[in-house]
């Protein structure tokens, strides 16, 4: 009996030491743990698949019981939202297209120029202390660790683990998530329309490369910071395109900060590198987009959310901004992985 106890104690010590060694290796960024996880996944995934199929009725029943009222009210709300947004979406799409054309014209990177992979969410995080989801695309689709992940609304996270046919996405709300972002100032007047030909500040003439013609939009938008038709490319019969650019005073000023997740129960926050913000007061509702840059894991101008609260701090620490995300992280279904890697991460063959 005592021999059995000694054996068990030896086993406990051995297992605990193994765990500590693996923990140390993982924290040092060793690939050994990734190999162990990958090998285990080979055995475990078929079992998990069977369990998923067997438990699906129970899972569906649970959703039916606990979410029926929510789904009904959400459906009604969505119908109303769709009706409201249909009009604004047309004008927004035209502006986005024009923006992309302008960026392309000036040799600046745009999201439209980045390839992406559409993936489906196949699992939630199996822990209370990790904000992540699993998707059904992996390295075979070109996905690499660090790539940004979006849904239809905006940024939702980044890839943290990649397997041949699946990947793990760390959500933006995870405390380990951090990203450099830009905070835009909210213009004084946010509900206006601009008719081409008025308020022209600068004219640039370039050889004609586009035949885009936009009719004079007289649309009143309710989107903060969005002015329909403010930037136009009217067609010119003389073969010259005239770009109408708003004066620098009307452009939104941007401030750069670091966005950090705060867990599922708290809103993500943005803290500034510098306490002195260039545009002074930061208003609630100011848009937050990714900053991009040569070392950032996300390209610039991916929509993240808006400022929901400004927390002032004493001294030189600068304010902290609480963010209301545009994405609903509790209800993710189809995602888009941008096959984007910063220049510093690209490996030349």
């Amino acid at each position: 009996m005592s021999g059995l106890t000694i054996n068990r104690r030896r086993a406990i010590v051995l297992l605990a030491l193994t765990s500590i060694i693996l923990l140390t290796l993982d924290l040092q960024g060793s690939s050994a743990t990734a190999t162990v996880r990958s090998a285990f996944a080979t055995i475990f995934r078929p079992i998990e698949g069977v369990v998923r199929v067997v438990t699906r009725p129970a899972s569906n029943a649970w959703y039916g019981i606990t979410h029926y009222d929510d789904v009904k009210s959400e459906n009604r709300l969505l119908r109303e939202k769709i009706a409201q947004q249909e009009g604004a979406a047309v004008a927004a799409a035209a502006s986005v297209r024009l923006s992309q054309e302008l960026l392309a014209l000036n040799g600046l990177p745009t999201l439209a120029g980045i390839n992406s992979v559409t993936a489906q969410v196949i699992g939630d995080s199996p822990s209370n202390f990790s904000q992540s989801v699993e998707i059904n695309q992996g390295s075979e689709s070109g996905i690499r660790v660090g790539m940004p992940v979006l849904n239809a609304a905006g940024l939702i996270g980044r890839i943290t683990q990649v397997f041949p046919n699946r990947a793990v996405v760390m959500l933006i709300s995870d405390p380990e998530y951090a990203l450099s972002v830009k905070v835009g100032s909210v213009p004084e007047s946010t509900t206006s329309s601009t008719v081409p030909g008025e308020g022209i500040a600068t004219k640039i003439t370039v050889p004609q490369t586009t035949t885009t013609t936009i009719a004079k939009p007289v649309v009143v938008s309710t989107i903060p910071g969005f002015t329909p038709g403010a930037t136009t490319i009217p067609s010119a019969p003389s073969g010259i395109t005239t770009l109408t650019i708003p004066s620098s005073g009307t452009l939104a000023v941007r401030e750069t900060g670091i966005l950090e997740g705060q867990g599922p129960s708290h809103a993500p926050t943005v803290r500034f590198i510098s306490a002195d913000t260039r545009f002074g007061e930061i208003n609630v509702g100011a848009p937050i987009v990714s900053a991009g840059g040569s070392t950032s894991l996300a390209p610039p101008d991916i929509v993240i959310g808006t400022v929901s609260r400004v927390v002032r701090r004493l001294g030189t620490a600068g304010p902290i901004l609480e963010i209301e995300l545009v994405t609903d992280l509790s209800n993710l279904s189809f995602l888009r992985v941008l096959l984007y890697q910063p220049i510093t991460e690209l490996v030349t063959p």
Binding site: S19, T55, W62, G123, S127, V168, E176
Partner: protein, 171 residues
């Protein structure tokens, strides 16, 4: 052939097979059924249940083994869940120190208390290795919900752990 049958009937082999199924349930059904927004840690409650039935040493080994398997599907640092669940399994096995003849309901109470404690040790362990974003008041809510449901799950998991790790003549 006898050797293979002997290995297959070994209680540790049985533990690994049962743990694989429990882990499958953890990553599918239990990661979706989130009562009050909290995921119920099935593998932790199983290890704690084993500790209350078979003692601290078997509880610790079960926790370390099941935790290592759990680590393979988690995004947290590898080995952390193993150490936390192993410690919880060991702690649950200390029940005989306090009660000479534990009853079924005293075991359930121990599972409830130690499961809540073990779950709240996860953010502490994460903070120990430098990932301190999880250590906030929400942990108390998670521990409370885990305690509430651990009592119900223990009614199933205590008999399961008893069957899984019962000693046969060959083991």
């Amino acid at each position: 052939m006898n050797r293979i049958l002997q290995v297959a009937s070994n209680r540790w082999t049985r533990l690994v097979l049962v743990a694989l199924v429990l882990l499958g349930l953890q990553t599918t059904l239990f990661s979706q059924l989130r009562p009050f927004g909290v995921m119920l840690p099935l593998v932790l409650i199983f290890a704690v249940s084993t500790g209350t039935v078979h003692g601290s040493e078997v509880g610790a080994i079960t926790g370390l083994v099941v935790g290592a398997m759990y680590d393979c599907v988690l995004a947290t640092p590898f080995g952390l869940a193993s150490l936390v669940i192993g410690s919880a399994g060991y702690l649950a096995g200390l029940l005989p120190f306090f009660l000479r003849e534990p009853t079924w309901w005293s075991r359930i109470i121990v599972v409830v208390v130690v499961s809540a404690f073990g779950e709240s040790m996860f953010p502490v362990a994460l903070a120990t290795v430098g990932l301190d974003g999880w250590l906030n008041s929400h942990v108390l809510w998670i521990a409370a919900v885990v305690a509430l449901f651990a009592g119900v799950l223990a009614l199933l998991l205590v008999p399961l752990s008893r069957w899984t790790l019962h000693e046969t003549a060959s083991t």
